[in-house]
């Protein structure tokens, strides 16, 4: 075991820290769920990309720096400690890109990744449907062959920022006789395609952070398919057990929150809240160390597998607990808390998105512990 960083890693950390200190906007950007805020976040992403910092873990040829997992974790720690803006490109860079790198053709990678990293195209997800939420395999949106492409029909929902985004990716049923996980295909398409209607849905904070997407005979050319036809479920799930299990939420974000929480608790006279803040800090440390442990396992050739469900339950509930605590520490000032209140609203979504924590606990029980379905 070696918990020190190499001189090269320390130099990388110093470089990132110095760049962020110079470039992170002094005032928080407006919410990325608003049109104006979305545009400002897109600008920020271009600034990041210009410095080669938007996707440090990608191969250089597509706009990354070829950084390994440890470098990426260092970048994330510095990024969140600096109070830098949320990543409006995250659906593309952290969720689609690993899949694209694993399953995409060379042409697909060259077409999409450089535009994604420069935020020329911001991507939205199109997974859930009105009748397929936690039970994603119940999805009904269809894809039918048409000439040298496909026609998509159906409805997707809970798509974050799809009102402002440029492209979307998701699963469609391409085999009409199929059920559940079989007969699905993974598609990528522009949101300004003919037949696509995006309807905003206001979230808890009143901003149109969600959208429904309606597909009415939308034509997608053959190169809009990612991975094999009928292989969509496998393609969508494959990278969850590798690095993506780690990259959904890096420890840096929660370490930064925990450090700020300690600053709030330092001045509090409430021993119970002080102890809870100390506990939360320790939990953020546990998450960080666990991530380094997982990175070591991946480096030894192991797969994360269902362990990513343990991580998701832990970070989402830690994040929520920390924000609840911060609001408790702020007391009557909480409604004016700005950043903490925004963070609280965002943290509330954590146990819901990316597979609800109820689903994650089922996965832990069945696939980690081996209990029967």
């Amino acid at each position: 075991m070696d918990l020190t960083f190499t001189p090269r890693q320390r130099a990388f950390r110093a470089e990132v820290r110095a760049w962020l200190a110079e470039h992170v906007p002094a005032d928080p950007l407006p919410s990325m769920d608003t049109a104006a805020g979305f545009a400002r976040h897109r600008e920020w992403e271009r600034t990041l990309a210009g410095a080669g910092l938007a996707a440090v873990s990608w191969p250089r040829e597509y706009g990354g720096r070829g950084a390994d997992l440890i470098d990426w974790l260092i970048f994330e720690e510095e990024y969140w400690a600096a109070g830098a803006p949320g990543r409006v490109t995250q659906n593309g860079i952290f969720l689609l890109a690993p899949t694209l790198l694993a399953y995409g053709t060379e042409e697909q990678k060259r077409r999409h990744l450089p535009r994604m990293v420069r935020a020329d195209d911001v991507w939205a997800q199109a997974w859930s449907e009105p009748e397929a939420g936690s039970d994603l395999a119940a999805l009904r949106a269809t894809a039918a062959p048409d000439g040298d492409g496909w026609r998509l029909n159906g409805q997707k929902t809970w798509s974050s920022r799809a009102v402002h985004a440029d492209w979307c990716f998701g699963l469609f049923r391409s085999d009409p006789g199929s059920e559940r996980h079989r007969g699905l295909t993974y598609f990528m398409l522009p949101l300004d395609s003919d037949g696509v209607t995006v309807r905003p849905i206001a979230q808890l904070d009143g901003e149109a952070g969600f959208a429904e997407i309606f597909f009415d005979d939308v034509f997608v050319p053959a190169d809009g398919v990612l991975g094999g036809i009928g292989q969509g479920w496998k393609v969508a799930m494959a990278t969850t057990s590798s690095e993506r299990g780690l990259t959904l939420r890096s420890p840096g974000r929660f370490m930064a929150t925990a450090d700020r929480l300690l600053e709030l608790a330092r001045d509090s006279a409430d021993q119970a809240l002080r102890d809870a803040a100390v506990q939360a800090w320790s939990d953020s440390e546990a998450y960080r160390l666990h991530t380094f442990q997982a990175a070591a396992r991946l480096a030894e050739g192991a797969e994360l597998g269902a362990a990513s469900s343990l991580m998701k339950v832990f970070w989402s509930e830690l994040d929520l607990r920390m924000h609840e605590l911060a609001l408790d520490l702020l007391g009557p000032d909480a409604p004016l808390a700005g950043r903490w209140l925004d963070g609280f609203l965002f943290a509330l979504a954590g146990p819901i998105y990316a597979g609800t924590n109820e689903i994650q606990r089922n996965i832990i029980a069945e696939r980690v512990l081996g209990l029967p379905r």
């Binding site: 075991m1 070696d2 918990l3 020190t4 960083f5 190499t6 890693q9 440890i70 370490m255 450090d259 300690l262 608790a265 330092r266 002080r274 102890d275 803040a277 100390v278 506990q279 800090w281 320790s282 939990d283 440390e285 546990a286 998450y287 960080r288 160390l289 666990h290 380094f292 442990q293 990175a295 070591a296 396992r297 480096a299 030894e300 362990a307 343990l310 339950v313 832990f314 109820e358 994650q360 606990r361 089922n362 832990i364 029980a365 069945e366 980690v368 512990l369 081996g370 209990l371 029967p372 379905r373």
Partner: protein, 311 residues
């Protein structure tokens, strides 16, 4: 940055597990002699002398080398004052006695605050005071764990071995938690009600999933504390307290859940389950209860300038 153990460190833990599975089954914990054949076996695989310098017949290992092995000793609730003899005593007793520790012929009980297994110890240690058996005025103290009897001794127990012994105890709690999780999962996968195994019910599954989460995230804190102690890191005391608290909480959750999953049969002396339950409840207050470690963590994080998380 490489958060993993070496082959040697894993091999020691594997050897400990193997000999304890043979010498220390539940019936030996329940009614066998203390410290029993497991003690001799642990001397033979080198764990008793692991922290004794090589010149005294030990292995001269660090806490990082043995943390996985102590986890294994927790799994089987090994009888005898193991943490006290193998971890605390090498820091406390005169060098002339160290060879006996490594050989397994010297049993040491150390107060934290109560003395475990003082009846079978050759030496009793309270704070800096080291006394041969029979010299201190000991009074029996009630304990939840009949396989680890306690006695009270006068005097301040504050020990220079606190951090090292608290870490080893945290490792044992982690091992106990893992054992209780296995027992509960095993029972839930076999007990049938309403025509189904109870492990197929979500109410049961989710409790066990929470145990898995608690253990999964306690472990890295325990391993990091071992690393910090091995490297004499400035934050070592803070890290040990974070580790002991997390292991204590995770083991307690595992114990509560294992009992709940077993139902009434778990609440009896007929099942071996109680051996691990009682050991968890006995070790949680040993070498600093949650309150002591919480206070240390609070002092480190809120009442002094922040220490870096890692180098």
């Amino acid at each position: 940055m490489r958060f993993s153990f070496t082959e040697d460190q894993r091999a020691l833990a594997g050897a400990v597990r193997e000999v304890l599975e043979k010498t220390c089954p539940p019936e030996a914990v329940r009614s066998g002699p203390r410290p029993g054949p497991g003690w001799r076996a642990l001397a033979e695989v080198g764990l008793l002398g692991a922290h004794v310098p090589e010149q005294y017949g030990g292995l001269g290992l660090t806490p990082l080398d043995t943390v996985l092995a102590f986890e294994e000793t927790g799994r089987c609730a090994v009888p005898g004052p193991l943490v006290e003899t193998a971890v605390a005593a090498p820091l406390l007793v005169p060098a002339a006695r160290l060879a006996e520790i490594a050989a397994g012929t010297l049993v040491v009980s150390v107060a934290s605050p109560y003395l475990p297994d003082a009846d079978l110890a050759d030496l009793h240690v309270v704070g800096a005071l080291v006394a041969p058996h029979g010299e201190l005025d000991l009074t029996p103290h009630p304990s939840v764990d009949a396989t680890r009897p306690l006695t009270a001794a006068p005097g301040d127990w504050t020990s220079p071995a606190l951090d090292h012994a608290a870490l080893a105890t945290a490792a044992q709690l982690l091992g106990l938690g893992r054992r209780l999780q296995e027992e509960a999962v095993g029972y839930a996968g076999q007990r049938r009600q309403f025509g189904k195994v109870i492990g197929s019910f979500q109410a049961v599954k989710h409790q066990l999933a929470d145990v898995a989460v608690a253990l999964e995230f306690a472990a890295p804190l325990v391993y990091r504390a071992a690393y910090a102690l091995a490297h004499d890191a400035p934050g070592a005391a803070r890290d040990v307290s974070a580790a002991k608290l997390a292991a204590s909480r995770a083991a307690h959750r595992a114990a509560r859940t294992a009992l709940q999953v077993h139902g009434a049969i778990g609440y009896t002396d007929e099942l071996d389950l109680r051996l691990w339950l009682n050991r968890v409840w006995a070790l949680r207050p040993a070498w600093g209860d949650d309150g002591l470690h919480r206070a240390r963590l609070r002092a480190a994080l809120l009442e002094s300038p922040a220490t870096a998380r890692l180098p």
